[in-house]
C-alpha cells in the first residue's frame, strides 16, 4: 500500500505537483483511518493531502485517473508475477525486446516505461514539453519547436504501436487465440492513454477567477464608445473626463490619508506622552491606521493592434503612479521597457508622447507575449512580492508564438493578484491568435476594458 502511494507521489512530482514528505506522512496516517476499499474515501484522503488548492485539483484528478484507473497498478508488469502466467512473461519479453531496439532514445524508453506500468518518466517528458521555451529567440521566432517536439513523441508512439502489432500476434485475427488478447489489449490501451495525454492540454481549474463583465453605465454616449472608434474631438473630450476620474481617485486617496489619524486611543503612547506632565494625559495620541501599501506593477501592450486603447491605458497608468506610492510601469511590444522614470519626470501628455518616441521600445517587431514574459521573468522578477498587484494590459494576441503561460503561473505564485485588462470585447477572446483563454487560467481577475465606463469601474474597484 505504502509503495503504491509513494509511486503515485512520484508521478505527482513528475508533473510538477508539489507534494512534501510531511504531506505523504499525513496521508499514510489518514489512510489507516479510512476504509480504503471505499473509493470515495480513499480519493478524498489523497486529494485533501496532495492537492492543496482548487487550482491543483484538476491536475490531481487527471493524475489520479491515470494512475489508479488507466494504468491499473494491480496488473503491474514488473511485479513478481506468477510463472504460470505466461502472458506477463511474454509481455515483459516483448517490452524488453523493444527496449533494446530503441537503444538510448530517451523518449522511447519513457514510452516503454509507461507501457510497463511506470508513468513517471513519461510524465516528466510531457512536463518538459509544456514548459519548454524558445532557445533561438534571436532568429526566426515561432511556436514550432514545441509543436515539433510533441510531434516527435507522437511519431515514436506510432512506431511503437506498429512494432507491437508485429511482435504480438493480432488478437483479433487469431494467432494464439485468447492467450495474448488481454495483455495486448492492455498495452494498446496504455499506448492510447499516452497518446491522449500528449494531445490534451492541461490548464489549472481557475473557477475562483473574478471575471467582470457587467458594469455600471455611468456616462452614456462617450462612456460607451470603444476607444478605437473615437474621433479627434471626442479624444479631447475623453481626456477631460479621464482628468475628472483621476481627480476623484486622488480625492479618495487623500481622504484616506486624512482619516488615518482617527483610530482608537493609543494607551501606550498616551501614557508615554503623559510622563512629561507628571502623569496627566494632556496629549492624547490615537492609533494610526496604517495606510495600505499597495505595490503595483503594470505591463502595458503598446503595439499597433491595441494602440488606440493603449493611449488611454497609459493615461490611467500615469495617474495610478500619482496615487500609489510604489508603481512600476513597463511598456512592451516584444520585450518590456521600464517607463516608470518617464512617467515620474514629465507631465501626462508629454510623458505619453515620450513613451512613443523616446523610450527604448522596438515598435517594428511583432507583439510577442511569450518573449515579454520571458524577459520580465528573467530581469524583473524581484519586483513581484506578496504585496504586489500585477496589472497586464493587452489583447493577448501573440502572433501564433509560444505564449509561455507557465511563466505567468510562476509570476502569479509570487504576487498578490494578477489582473488582466483586455481592450477587446469578450467574444473575440480566444479567436485567431488570441491566447486570452490560455492566460486567463493564470489570472485572479480578467476584464474587458474597451471604453471609459469599464475603465472607470476598474479604477473604482482597485482604489476602494
Amino acid at each position: 500500500m505504502l509503495n503504491l502511494i509513494l509511486n503515485f507521489v512520484n508521478a505527482c512530482r513528475a508533473s510538477d505537483l508539489r507534494v512534501s514528505t510531511a504531506e505523504v506522512i499525513d496521508c499514510a496516517r489518514h489512510l489507516e483511518m479510512v476504509d480504503v476499499l471505499d473509493e470515495a474515501q480513499f480519493r478524498s484522503a489523497l486529494r485533501a493531502n496532495f492537492a492543496k488548492s482548487r487550482r491543483e485539483q484538476t491536475e490531481f484528478d487527471r493524475l489520479y485517473g491515470l494512475f489508479f484507473h488507466d494504468m491499473r497498478p494491480d496488473v503491474e508488469l514488473d511485479a513478481d508475477c506468477d510463472p504460470e502466467n505466461t502472458d506477463k512473461a511474454d509481455m515483459r519479453h516483448t517490452i524488453g525486446q523493444m527496449r533494446q531496439e530503441a537503444g538510448d532514445d530517451e523518449i522511447t524508453q519513457a514510452i516503454m516505461d509507461f507501457l510497463a506500468g511506470d508513468p513517471i518518466p513519461y510524465l516528466r517528458q510531457i512536463h518538459r514539453l509544456e514548459t519548454q521555451t524558445e532557445e533561438s529567440s534571436q532568429a526566426l521566432k515561432s511556436n514550432l519547436s514545441q509543436l515539433s517536439s510533441r510531434l516527435e513523441v507522437m511519431l515514436r508512439i506510432n512506431r511503437t504501436r506498429n512494432r507491437l502489432l508485429q511482435l504480438m500476434p493480432d488478437p483479433i485475427s487469431g494467432g494464439a487465440p485468447g492467450r495474448n488478447r488481454g495483455m495486448a489489449g492492455l498495452l494498446m490501451e496504455r499506448l492510447e492513454t499516452a497518446n491522449r495525454m500528449l494531445t490534451q492540454e492541461t490548464r489549472p481549474n481557475n473557477d475562483a477567477l473574478k471575471q467582470v463583465n457587467a458594469y455600471e453605465k455611468k456616462t452614456l454616449g462617450i462612456g460607451e464608445r470603444p476607444f478605437s472608434n473615437l474621433t479627434e474631438t471626442e479624444i479631447i473630450k475623453m481626456r477631460s473626463v479621464i482628468d475628472q476620474l483621476v481627480r476623484k481617485m486622488k480625492d479618495i486617496m487623500s481622504r484616506r490619508y486624512a482619516v488615518r489619524n482617527r483610530g482608537a486611543l493609543d494607551v501606550k503612547k498616551t501614557l508615554r506622552a503623559a510622563q512629561r506632565y507628571q502623569g496627566v494625559p494632556i496629549e492624547i495620541v490615537f492609533r494610526q491606521r496604517p495606510l495600505r501599501k499597495t505595490r503595483v506593477v503594470t505591463l502595458c501592450d503598446v503595439s499597433g493592434s491595441v494602440w488606440s486603447a493603449a493611449r488611454f491605458m497609459l493615461n490611467m497608468i500615469y495617474s495610478m503612479q500619482d496615487c500609489f506610492s510604489d508603481v512600476k510601469s513597463f511598456a512592451f511590444v516584444a520585450g518590456p521597457t521600464n517607463i516608470t522614470d518617464i512617467f515620474e519626470k514629465h507631465d501626462v501628455n508629454q510623458a505619453i508622447e515620450k513613451v512613443i518616441t523616446d523610450a527604448d521600445i522596438n515598435f517594428n517587431t511583432h507583439t510577442d507575449y511569450g518573449e515579454m514574459l520571458t524577459q520580465f521573468h528573467r530581469d524583473h522578477l524581484n519586483l513581484l512580492t506578496q504585496k504586489t498587484t500585477l496589472i497586464i494590459v493587452g489583447d493577448a494576441r501573440t502572433n501564433y508564438q509560444n505564449p509561455c503561460e507557465h511563466l505567468l503561473d510562476d509570476m502569479r505564485a509570487r504576487c498578490r493578484r494578477v489582473i488582466w485588462l483586455n481592450p477587446e470585447p469578450e467574444q473575440f477572446w480566444g479567436t485567431g491568435d488570441s491566447e486570452m483563454n490560455t492566460y486567463k487560467a493564470y489570472c485572479h481577475e480578467v476584464r474587458p476594458c474597451r471604453n471609459l465606463n469599464q475603465l472607470a469601474n476598474f479604477i473604482e474597484d482597485i482604489v476602494f
Binding site: M33, V34, A40, R54, A214, Q386
Partner: protein, 307 residues
C-alpha cells in the same frame, strides 16, 4: 486510530452527526472532517461565496457541543487584535489604587536602586494573566475545554499574519515574551476558510488538509431545502432547485448561494405560491439577486431559467 479527544468515530458517524444538526455533508466533506478531527489537523476550506464554508464550522461545533470561537480576517489584522494585548488602562488603574501599598513597600529602601529592585520583584503581579486581554486565538488555546476555532477569510489577511499563524497551527502554542510559551490545553478543531482572493502560501497549505466545497448537486440541495422547510411541496422544491441551478450558470455579479435558495423558498411559502411561474419568479427575484444588473439579466433569460 482516533485520538482520545475527537468526537467522531468514523466517516459515517461524522455524516450522521452533521445531519443531526441540519447540515448535510457530501461524502468528501465527511471524510475530510473526520480525518482532520482524528489527526488534529486544521482544515483549509475553499469554495465560492455562500457554499457553506462558515456553516461547516458552525455545524461541527454544534454537533459536538463545543464552543465556537471565530476570528474574522481583514487587511491590517495583527497580533494585538487576534492573539492578545496588555490592558494598559487596567494596569494603570491598579497602580493608582495600590499606590500606598507600593509606597509602603519601598519605604524601607535606602537607595533608589534598592527601591527599583523591590518593585521589580513585584513585576509578576502586573504582567500576569489578569491584565492580559485574550483575543480569539489565545482564547482558543487557553480554553478549558476543546473548542472549534474558525479563522474566516484568511485570504483577506496580510501575508505577515499568515506567517504568524504558522507557529500556532503546527505546534498549537503561542509565545508571550513576558509569560513564556503557552501550550494549548486542548487542541482545537481549526477551520480556515478562503475565497481565493489571493493564493495562500505553501507553508500554510502544508499544515492543513484541503477541502473544496462547491455548490451542492441538485438532489443534495433539494434535501437541504426540504430539511429547512419541511412542509414545502415536492414539485415546488424541484422547480426551485432547478431554477437556482440555472441562475447560477448565468454570468452574474453575485451568484445566489444556498442560504438564498432557502430564503427564496421561504418567501414563496409565505406568498403561498405553489407553482413557479415566470410571474412568480419575477416578483420574488430580489430575494435571490442582490444587484440590479443581475435582476435584469435573470429577467431577460427567464425561459432558460425555468426550463
Amino acid at each position: 486510530m482516533p485520538g482520545p479527544h475527537t468526537g467522531f468515530t468514523s466517516v459515517e458517524d461524522v455524516q450522521k452527526k452533521l445531519e443531526s444538526v441540519d447540515y448535510i455533508p457530501s461524502r468528501e466533506i465527511a471524510t475530510v472532517v473526520f480525518l482532520a478531527a482524528a489527526t488534529q489537523k486544521p482544515i483549509l476550506v475553499e469554495g465560492p461565496a455562500g457554499a457553506g464554508k462558515t456553516e461547516l464550522a458552525r455545524a461541527i461545533s454544534r454537533c459536538l457541543n463545543l464552543r465556537k470561537i471565530r476570528l474574522q480576517c481583514y487587511e491590517g489584522l495583527d497580533e494585538a487584535k487576534s492573539l492578545y494585548e496588555w490592558e494598559y488602562a487596567k494596569q494603570l488603574l491598579y497602580t493608582q489604587m495600590i499606590k500606598e501599598k507600593i509606597n509602603q513597600l519601598i519605604a524601607t529602601a535606602d537607595t533608589i536602586a534598592e527601591a527599583v529592585e523591590k518593585i521589580a520583584q513585584q513585576e509578576n503581579a502586573f504582567f500576569s494573566e489578569r491584565f492580559l486581554l485574550a483575543r480569539p486565538l489565545l482564547q482558543a488555546i487557553t480554553s478549558d475545554e476543546q473548542v472549534v476555532l474558525l479563522i474566516d477569510e484568511i485570504d483577506k489577511s496580510d501575508p505577515e499574519f499568515e506567517a504568524f499563524l504558522l507557529e500556532l497551527l503546527s505546534d498549537f502554542q503561542v509565545s508571550i515574551p513576558e509569560l513564556g510559551i503557552w501550550k494549548a490545553k486542548h487542541i482545537p478543531i481549526v477551520v480556515l476558510t478562503s475565497n481565493n482572493y489571493r493564493d495562500i502560501s505553501d507553508a500554510l497549505k502544508r499544515r492543513c488538509i484541503h477541502l473544496y466545497i462547491d455548490y451542492p448537486k441538485k438532489d443534495l440541495e433539494k434535501r437541504i431545502v426540504k430539511l429547512k422547510i419541511p412542509n414545502i411541496e415536492e414539485r415546488l422544491a424541484d422547480q426551485l432547485v432547478n431554477a437556482i441551478g440555472n441562475i447560477r450558470s448565468l454570468d452574474l455579479k453575485k451568484r445566489p448561494c444556498i442560504s438564498e435558495t432557502i430564503d427564496w423558498a421561504k418567501a414563496l411559502m409565505v406568498l403561498q405560491i405553489n407553482d413557479l411561474s415566470p410571474q412568480a419568479l419575477s416578483d420574488t427575484l430580489n430575494v435571490i439577486c442582490k444587484y440590479q444588473a443581475d435582476t435584469v439579466m435573470v429577467r431577460e433569460s427567464m425561459d432558460k431559467v425555468l426550463k
